[in-house]
C-alpha cells in the first residue's frame, strides 16, 4: 500500500487549470523529490498533498485514508518551508510545541518530544532563543524540528534549503538525508529546483515541467536514461551536449550521422526499432566523452578551459558546434590545441527531434 497516493488530481485557480489528472504513488518510507524549474507546479502539488490548497478533482490518500477533504492538521503530515516560517514572537521551544499544544497533547509529552527533536538536530542550546536571534541555518533546523515533533507519517519539504548559502545548504542536505535514514520508515516528499539536492537525496525523482510529470525514476535512471530532451537538459551540470543529426542504416547496423561526425549505434539500447532517416538529437554527458589523440570524432580544437579543482571542463569545437568535455582536474589544455573525442554508444541518449522523446 502506498503511503501517499495522488489520484487523478486537478487543481484550478479561479478559472485557470493548473493540473489536469495528475497521479503519483509514493511508497512507505520513500524519499521522493519533485524536481523542476520554477512554475512547473511542484509546489502546487505539495500544497495540495498538505491540504493547503483545495483540489478541483481527484483524490489524495495518505496512509490508506482518503484525506481529500481533510484539514492539513488531520492529514498526518508535517511541513518545512523555504522561508522557515517560524513564528517570530515565540521562542524556539514555543515554536516547536505550538502544534502539539493545538492538538492538546499533555505537557510532559510535549516536553519530551521537543527535547528529543532538539537533541536530534543539535539545537538544544537554542531552545529559549527567539527566531530573530538565530542564523539562517539554525532557523531551518528549528523549522525541521517543529516538523519532527509532530511525529507525522509524511514529511513535506518545500524548497527548504533554497534560502541558505552554498556551504550551509550542503551541510543541511547531508543532515536531512541522515535524518531520513535515522527515522527509518518515514515518507518524505521534497520539492526543489536544485538537481544536486534531487540527485543526492532522492530514492526516486519526479521531474516536472509545465504541470506535467516528465519522468519518475531513481536518480541513476534519471541521469543515465532521461526519458526526454527536457529531463536530459535539466538534470546534470555541466549540461548534456546535444547534437542534431540523423539515423542512417548501413550494413552493420544503425549509425548516427551529423555532418562529418558519425557514431555507430550497435551498443545503444533502443526502446523501439530504429528508423533509418529519422531526425534525432544525440545527447552525451560531458564526462562520457574521452579525450584521445584520434578517437571517434577528431578535428576538435580547445575553445575555453574551465578548471574546477576536482575536474576540468573543456569547451571544444570543430566548426559545427561546441561540445563540453569533463575531464580530470589534472588535465592541462591550452586554447587552440587540437583534440579528438572518444564516444561510447552505450552511454549516449537518443531523442526523436520531433517529439523530444527518448528512442
Amino acid at each position: 500500500m502506498a503511503a501517499v497516493s495522488v489520484r487523478d488530481v486537478s487543481v484550478a485557480f479561479e478559472a485557470v487549470r493548473v493540473f489536469d489528472g495528475l497521479s503519483l504513488d509514493i511508497e512507505q518510507g520513500e524519499f521522493i523529490v519533485l524536481l523542476g524549474p520554477s512554475g512547473c507546479g511542484k509546489s502546487t502539488l505539495l500544497n495540495a498533498v498538505a491540504g493547503l490548497l483545495d483540489v478541483a478533482e481527484g483524490q489524495i490518500w495518505i496512509d490508506g485514508k482518503n484525506v481529500t477533504w481533510e484539514e492539513p492538521k488531520d492529514r498526518g503530515i508535517a511541513m518545512v518551508f523555504q522561508s522557515y516560517a517560524l513564528y517570530p514572537r515565540m521562542s524556539v521551544r514555543e515554536n516547536m510545541s505550538f502544534g502539539l499544544k493545538m492538538a492538546k497533547t499533555p505537557k510532559p509529552e510535549i516536553e519530551k518530544r521537543v527535547n528529543k527533536a532538539a537533541e536530534l538536530l543539535q539545537i538544544t542550546h537554542l531552545l529559549d532563543r527567539r527566531p530573530d536571534q538565530l542564523s539562517g541555518g539554525q532557523r531551518q533546523r528549528v523549522a525541521i524540528g517543529r516538523a519532527l515533533v509532530r511525529d507525522a507519517a509524511v514529511f513535506l519539504f518545500d524548497e527548504p534549503l533554497s534560502n541558505l548559502d552554498a556551504q550551509l545548504r550542503n551541510e543541511l542536505r547531508v543532515e536531512i538525508k541522515r535524518l531520513h535514514a535515522r527515522l527509518g520508515n518515514t515518507t518524505m516528499i521534497y520539492v526543489t529546483h536544485d538537481q544536486i539536492e534531487a540527485m543526492t537525496l532522492a530514492d526516486r525523482i519526479v521531474v516536472m515541467k509545465e504541470q506535467k510529470i516528465q519522468q519518475i525514476g531513481s536518480p541513476d535512471e534519471i541521469y543515465r536514461r532521461p526519458s526526454n530532451l527536457f529531463v536530459a537538459g535539466f538534470v546534470g551540470s555541466p549540461q548534456m551536449n546535444f547534437i542534431k543529426g540523423r539515423i542512417e542504416g548501413n550494413g552493420t547496423g544503425p549509425e548516427f550521422v551529423s555532418g562529418k561526425r558519425r557514431l555507430p549505434l550497435s551498443g545503444y539500447r533502443f526502446s523501439g526499432k530504429p528508423i533509418p532517416g529519422q531526425e534525432v538529437v544525440l545527447g552525451v554527458r560531458p564526462e562520457h566523452l574521452e579525450i584521445t589523440g584520434a578517437g571517434t570524432w577528431s578535428d576538435f580544437k580547445v575553445d575555453i578551459v574551465e578548471p574546477m579543482g576536482a575536474d576540468t571542463v573543456i569547451w571544444c569545437s570543430d566548426g559545427d558546434g561546441t561540445i563540453q568535455v569533463r575531464t580530470s582536474g589534472s588535465k592541462k589544455a591550452a586554447p587552440g590545441e587540437p583534440l579528438g573525442l572518444g564516444v561510447d554508444a552505450a552511454h549516449v541518449s537518443l531523442f526523436a527531434s520531433e517529439t523530444g522523446e527518448r528512442l
Binding site: N47, A50, L52, E71, P72, K73, I77, A78, M79, F81, Q82, S83, A85, L86, Y87, P88, R89, F98, G99, M102, A103, A143, R146, R150, D158
Partner: protein, 294 residues
C-alpha cells in the same frame, strides 16, 4: 602645502541652492508655528494686555486664569461648566471607538489576505469605495436608521458610527500589512492545527504591533477631531469636545474673551498634539500607510 589633496569626507559648501532650501524651510516652519505661538502667548495673557494689540509679544503678567476658566467655567450656550464636560465625553467616545474599529479592521484585513474568502476582492472594493464617498451623503439615511432602531442620540450610536466609518481605512491598513507577511507563516500555522481565531490571536496579532500603533494614531486623531458625527449622532448629553469648543468660541456675551477661546482650543487640541509628539516616527509611517485618506 598648497591645495589639499582630496581626502576623507568631501567638504560641504554653502551654495545658492542650499540657501534657497533653508529659506523655504524656515518660511514654511514659521507659517505653521506662528499661529501656535500666538495661541500659546495669548492664552497666558490677561484681557487688558490683549487689548493692547501686541499679539506676538510675550505675556507681561503670566496668568493661568484663562486656562482654568476654559476648563471649568466657560459658557457653552446656557451651561457654564467649561470644556471639561466635552473632554470627558470625547474620551468616552474615543476609547471604545478606537478599540472596536481597530479590532474590526484587523480581523477584516486578516480574513481578506489569508483566508481567500469567496468574493474577497469584490468585498474589499466595495469597502474601499465607502472610503471615498463624502460623509455628508450618509448623514440623513443614518439618522433615519438609528432612530428606527432606537439608539439615535446616544453613546452607542456615535461609537457605532465611528466604527463603521473607520472600517475602510482600518481594513485597508491591515490588509496591506498582512499581504506583506509571508504566506508560509500562515500555512505553517494551519499545518500545526490552528484555526481562524487561534492563528489570528496567537500568530498574526503578535506580529501586528507596528500596524496597531499606526492604526491607533490614525484613529485617535481622527475620532478626537471629528465634529460632524459628534454633532449629529452623539446627542446633547455626549457632545464631544470639538462641538463644545465651537459653542464656547461662538457664544458671544459682551467682550470676546480671546484668552479663554485660545486656551479652550489648546485644551481641545491637546490629545492629538500629545499623540503626535509621543508617536514621532510611527506617525510618519501612519501618514504614509493611510495616504488614501487623511
Amino acid at each position: 602645502m598648497n591645495a589639499a589633496e582630496p581626502q576623507g569626507r568631501r567638504p560641504r559648501r554653502l551654495t545658492v541652492g542650499r540657501i534657497g532650501i533653508y529659506a523655504f524651510l524656515i518660511t514654511a516652519a514659521l507659517f505653521f508655528l506662528l499661529p501656535l505661538w500666538i495661541m500659546v502667548v495669548t492664552s497666558f495673557k490677561p484681557m487688558e494686555e490683549i487689548r493692547l494689540g501686541n499679539i506676538l509679544a510675550l505675556p507681561v503678567t503670566l496668568t493661568l486664569e484663562a486656562w482654568t476658566k476654559a476648563w471649568s467655567s466657560a459658557c457653552t450656550g446656557l451651561e457654564c461648566n467649561g470644556i471639561r464636560v466635552g473632554f470627558w465625553n470625547s474620551v468616552r467616545i474615543l476609547v471604545p471607538s478606537v478599540i472596536l474599529s481597530i479590532i474590526a479592521g484587523a480581523i477584516n484585513g486578516y480574513a481578506l489576505s489569508f483566508w481567500r474568502v469567496k468574493g474577497a476582492n469584490v468585498m474589499f472594493g466595495v469597502l474601499l469605495l465607502g472610503a471615498f464617498i463624502p460623509y455628508q451623503v450618509f448623514l440623513y439615511p443614518l439618522v433615519r436608521i438609528f432612530s428606527l432602531t432606537g439608539i439615535y442620540n446616544s453613546l452607542t450610536c456615535i461609537v457605532v458610527v465611528h466604527v463603521i466609518f473607520g472600517l475602510p481605512t482600518m481594513t485597508l491598513l491591515f490588509r496591506n500589512y498582512y499581504a506583506g507577511l509571508p504566506i508560509e507563516l500562515f500555512k505553517a500555522a494551519r499545518v500545526d492545527g490552528g484555526g481562524f481565531w487561534t492563528i489570528f490571536l496567537r500568530v498574526i496579532l503578535p506580529m501586528s504591533t507596528p500596524m496597531l500603533v499606526v492604526a491607533t494614531i490614525l484613529q485617535v486623531t481622527g475620532i478626537w477631531n471629528d465634529f460632524i458625527f459628534g454633532l449629529t449622532f452623539a446627542g446633547r448629553e455626549n457632545l464631544p469636545m470639538t462641538v463644545q469648543l465651537n459653542n464656547i468660541v461662538n457664544s458671544t456675551q459682551g467682550e470676546r474673551a480671546y484668552n479663554v477661546d485660545m486656551a479652550a482650543t489648546m485644551l481641545a487640541a491637546l490629545v492629538p498634539l500629545v499623540v503626535y509628539f509621543v508617536s514621532g516616527r510611527w506617525f510618519v509611517r501612519g501618514i504614509a500607510a493611510g495616504a488614501v485618506k487623511g
